[in-house]
């Protein structure tokens, strides 16, 4: 007896693009920043950053509702002054402490299935690249498309190197990725939990709503997209 046939590893032709926050894990960019803030290194630093973050919560909430791009730009300013060394050092710990326990129970199965279907697995997120690299490695993703923080003299400036990965830009980078990698957009899959990723979902031929919010659930029903629950 031999093992049953599978299509094997990623082959050129199509990809599966996964949003991360809310789709594969239950945390989001704020949790990640909170982890860095709470591990600032000095009691005063922790206090300063915590107070500043708490004070900004109402602003973050409003911006998140209004425009994801403005939210990201505003939010990533909080990183200003954090050293690159410290951020990178904390990344692995953060993955073990914060992100790994937050991975949804059936997320790995979905990614494995995409790989068996011959898809290149790509994570696309508005989070910062260094925070998500360990997750990409853990899930066995082939690529990670994420925001990149600008560092000057080893310290974060709080600015993200454009283009900011969010909303419509996610669709643009996916299109460019498929062009440069010789992949078919029409054959490719995209997975997200949020209506803010509507552009990313509509640019591929095979969109899927995962753990969708109310708006995305309504959209998915309207357009007959499959709706998954990986929690």
């Amino acid at each position: 007896m031999k093992p049953a046939h599978t299509e094997g590893s990623a082959s050129p032709g199509k990809a599966a693009f996964f949003d991360i926050d809310g789709t594969l894990i239950s945390t989001n960019v704020v949790h990640a920043y909170g982890y860095y803030a709470m591990n600032e290194g000095s009691a005063l630093g922790i206090l300063q950053r915590s107070v500043k973050t708490l004070a900004s919560i109402p602003v973050f909430s409003v911006l998140n509702l209004v425009d994801r791009k403005t939210f990201n730009e505003f939010f990533y300013r909080s990183y200003a002054g954090l050293t690159e060394d410290r951020l990178l050092t904390l990344t692995e710990d953060m993955f073990e402490d914060l992100i790994k326990p937050a991975i949804f129970a059936k997320a790995q199965d979905l990614i494995d299935q995409a790989r068996r279907a011959g898809c290149k697995v790509v994570l696309v997120t508005g989070a910062l690249d260094f925070t998500m690299r360990p997750l990409a490695r853990h899930l066995g993703a082939d690529d990670l498309i994420a925001n990149r923080m600008q560092f000057v003299g080893g310290k974060a400036t709080g600015k993200v190197i454009p283009p900011i990965i969010e909303g419509a830009n996610k669709a643009n980078v996916i299109r460019e990725y498929c062009e440069t990698q010789g992949l078919s957009l029409m054959k490719s899959h995209a997975y997200s939990d949020s209506a803010s990723d509507y552009a990313m979902l509509t640019i591929v031929g095979r969109p899927t709503a995962v753990n969708p919010d109310l708006r995305l659930r309504a959209l998915a029903r309207s357009y007959n997209w499959p709706i998954l629950d990986v929690r």
Partner: protein, 537 residues
């Protein structure tokens, strides 16, 4: 005067046929989750089912007798050794229809078999539902099927659904002489003994089809679940005339070569309904005043209920079937006994085909228990099942007309039928050609990670399943000249399916007569209860 023997033969052959006259009562037809009460034209041949056969007087005794006196194998107790690995596979919720009252016959068989296994020192026992690419059964459905005690003892570690997409859970055996892939549930393949517990509703079920299709994967099913094999299948219900069954037999023989399979097959009668809907089991000629009152009451109540509530109500009506036979042993001789019993219940001899055949379309098919009969399932019921309920010769003439009564609502259950939605809206709007659909889209759907995920982790039919539903109707589509959906509440569903629609049954009959000619012969097949026509040409 004719001798009693001849009279009995005449009665057996003709008591199921009624030719409508001027004073004949109106017929009660299913119209999805509603009833229609309709007068049929004078001269319509009404074909009704045989009365339910008597059940075995003592089910447990019948099961014990069958496993102790099996066909072509040693008795079950003689096959058991302490410490051996045994898997018991069970037919899924697609059988029988409607689901039977508890205790389910599978529970009755399991209670005896599991006790025997325990007494024989066999502890390594798994119960696997042979759902193939059907949806996984829910915990509540699984519990209902085997009873609380067995469920508590085995679920979830040792009582579960087969997973055709588990890369570690499937093994490929050698290929058949026709190079067909033979894939099988790993646990079942690696067991010292596989016991298959079957419910046979129609002669299409059981035999080699049980393990060969129930415990396999997409690659193996492709060998026979394809448009060409369906076109080459003269009769779904007669294994001898079926390319589909020839393929499953080749696959089954490879399985029998590698695994020891002990089949326990059961047949049930056609007592599908009892009070308060007992009138569904009667000919309208036999209705009492009370029956007529019940029909009108139900019709009125249903007209006031939302569709979801009507479904809920119908799916809470369980069938009071009686078990008519229990047969056990090796695959082929056991199934031969099953087929004989099955035909005794369902076969209704009729003389000649008809130009127009009318079916009342019920709310349930094998693929929507506790769910919606969506347009694709209406199609499979009309052209896949009802059209094919015969022994080789369709009741409708080549180029004739099928009329069925159903609202054809554009409703799909996103939990159970997710891939159907895309198939209906994306593929069928492009082409109805089964060959093109298979070539262009089947693999894409079958491999779609979202559909695979929904199948494995949710309760959705596999991505390939909507294609099988379309292929199943292939022979009907090739045979008939026109399909009319009487009472279809919209234009687009019949249009996408390639059917005509009318508001009423009489309009549908008029249109069919216009198509065939005024002298067109008409048959109405009264289902339920289920029957199969034996057409003599």
């Amino acid at each position: 005067m004719r001798p009693l023997k001849t009279l009995k033969k005449l009665y057996d052959e003709e008591s199921h046929l009624i030719i409508t006259e001027k004073g004949s009562p109106p017929r009660v037809l299913f119209y999805g989750e509603d009833f229609w009460v309709e007068d049929l034209p004078v001269g319509t041949r009404v074909i009704t089912a045989r009365p339910p056969l008597e059940g075995v007087p003592n089910l447990k005794a019948a099961i014990r007798y069958a496993i102790n006196h099996p066909e072509g194998m040693d008795p079950l107790h003689a096959l058991l050794k302490p410490g051996m690995k045994v898997t018991v596979a069970l037919d899924d919720i697609s059988l029988p229809l409607p689901p039977m009252k508890t205790p389910d016959v599978r529970q009755a068989v399991l209670e005896i078999v599991l006790e025997l296994l325990a007494d024989s020192g066999v502890d390594d026992v798994h119960l696997v539902i042979a759902n193939a690419l059907h949806r996984r059964m829910t915990e509540a459905e699984m519990k209902r099927m085997v009873g609380q005690r067995i469920f508590d003892e085995f679920h979830p570690d040792r009582y579960y659904n087969h997973d055709a997409e588990d890369p570690e859970g499937i093994v490929e055996l050698e290929r058949t002489s026709h190079n067909e892939v033979v894939a099988m549930n790993r646990r079942a393949a690696e067991s010292d003994l596989l016991i298959y517990v079957n419910i046979n509703l129609v002669p299409m079920d059981g035999g080699h089809k049980s393990v060969g299709t129930g415990l396999t994967n997409y690659e193996s099913l492709r060998a026979h679940h394809n448009p060409q094999t369906i076109r080459d299948t003269e009769s779904y219900m007669e294994p001898g005339k079926s390319a589909l069954h020839r393929s499953t037999e080749r696959i089954g023989r490879v399985i029998d070569k590698h695994c020891k399979v002990f089949h326990i097959e059961t047949t049930i009668n056609n007592r599908m309904f009892e009070e308060p809907v007992g009138f569904l089991m009667k000919k309208e000629e036999d209705f009492t005043e009370l029956d007529r009152l019940k029909v009108q009451s139900f019709k009125y109540a249903l007209s006031k209920m939302p569709r979801a509530m009507k479904r809920k109500m119908f799916f809470n009506i369980f069938a009071p079937y009686s078990v008519t036979g229990v047969f056990a042993g090796a695959t082929e001789p056991t199934h031969q006994r099953t087929l004989e019993m099955s035909w005794r219940q369902y076969s209704v001899p009729v003389d000649g085909q008809s130009d127009i055949v009318i079916f009342g379309m019920p709310y349930v098919s094998p693929y929507n228990v506790n769910s919606i009969l969506n347009p694709l399932l209406v199609q499979v019921m009309a052209l896949g099942y009802l059209f094919n309920l015969n022994r080789g010769v369709p009741l409708v003439k080549k180029g004739g007309v099928i009329i069925f009564t159903h609202p054809c609502y554009d409703e799909f259950d996103p939990e159970h039928h997710a891939p159907y939605i895309e198939f209906f809206n994306r593929c069928l709007t492009e082409t109805r050609d089964a060959m093109k659909l298979e070539h262009k889209y089947e693999k894409e759907f079958a491999r779609n990670p979202s559909y695979v995920h929904l199948y494995r982790k949710g309760h959705a039919y596999h991505g390939a399943h909507p294609f099988y539903m379309w292929y199943w109707g292939e022979n009907g589509r090739q045979h008939v000249g026109k399909v009319i959906a009487a009472g279809a509440e919209n234009n687009h569903v019949p249009a996408i399916m390639g059917w005509d629609r009318t508001d009423t049954l009489s309009e549908a009959i008029e249109e069919a007569r216009g198509f065939i000619g005024r002298s067109a012969s008409i048959s109405y097949v009264k289902i339920p209860p289920i029957l199969q026509t034996d057409v003599r040409l």
